[in-house]
Assembly symmetry: C2
Homo-oligomer: 166 residues x 2
């Protein structure tokens, strides 16, 4: 029988928060008759301070208990907030759904993220992501293969790295 591959949001450290929470129920939004302005998903819980700079929140959407080969969560970065350098053993997909931010892979230039952008972080490639200095950023993170080696966290992103200075 094929082994199922479970999922995480930003890695086990965040998963400890995100997957311990119930992922969003299937009909959990408040009643309304049309779409409403504002954030798509609930803000969720604070991300572990050990792996992030600034204020970051994680809302689990699809967790280990759902037994899909990918998990998903909504991650909101306050202006200036960002992850530490890290890598995912099976890569990660980021769908930018709100705001402006940055993404950088080790050895590459920092890239600006805007609503609608899609980031495909390769497996095992060190990178960081976060909001721009004056604009919040929210992305959906789709992460495969929770049963693989957990995310490997590195050091904080320096202010020079964050600002894209050489």
């Amino acid at each position: 029988m094929r082994k199922r591959h479970f999922c995480t949001v930003l890695g086990l450290q965040v998963l400890a928060t995100a997957a311990a929470l119930p992922s969003r129920g299937q009909t959990s939004s408040p009643p309304s008759t049309s779409s409403v302005p504002g954030p798509i998903f609930a803000k969720g819980q604070p991300a572990p301070a050990a792996n992030f700079t600034g204020q970051v929140w994680v809302q689990g959407l699809v967790g280990k208990e759902d037994q899909y080969p990918c998990g998903a969560g909504s991650v909101q970065f306050a202006p200036g907030a960002r992850s530490h350098w890290h890598q995912h053993p099976a890569g990660q997909i980021l769908l930018i759904v709100e705001g402006t931010g940055y993404y950088q892979e080790k050895g590459q230039a920092r890239r600006v993220l805007r609503k609608g952008d899609v980031i495909k972080a390769p497996a095992g490639v060190e990178h960081w992501h976060g909001a721009a200095p004056t604009t919040a950023m929210t992305h959906v993170a789709i992460t495969p293969d929770l049963e693989a080696v957990p995310v490997v966290w590195g050091r904080a992103v320096t202010q020079a790295e964050y600002l894209g200075k050489p």
Copy 2:
């Protein structure tokens, strides 16, 4: 070596459209300095009329070529538009990012979908989804396991089913 599981958007019929297109590049949005109102993702291409009622567009985001265990696409339903009844061999996750719509599994009551809702369609369970009569609806569809049996399409949703009549 572990077999990779590839991905589709709504199934092979849609994938023929969605994955043949380039999935969104990683920095493809127009320049701006802050988040902008309006749709998150590009509208994409018309979904195959054989499997949908009304106007539906699919924008591939993560495709087979990306070699993740899940694919992803943005699917926009015009007011009144919906899929036919269908089932996915490995299930499908729907993240409602805009508007109002409906989702129904065979033998269950029709459910209202609103921005922020998460639908976890089980593997092999027949269902349909679409927009409400007077409001468009956009969801991100995350679909595992393209290499499994392709999506099985059934008949169109009747107007009575669409309106939730017994």
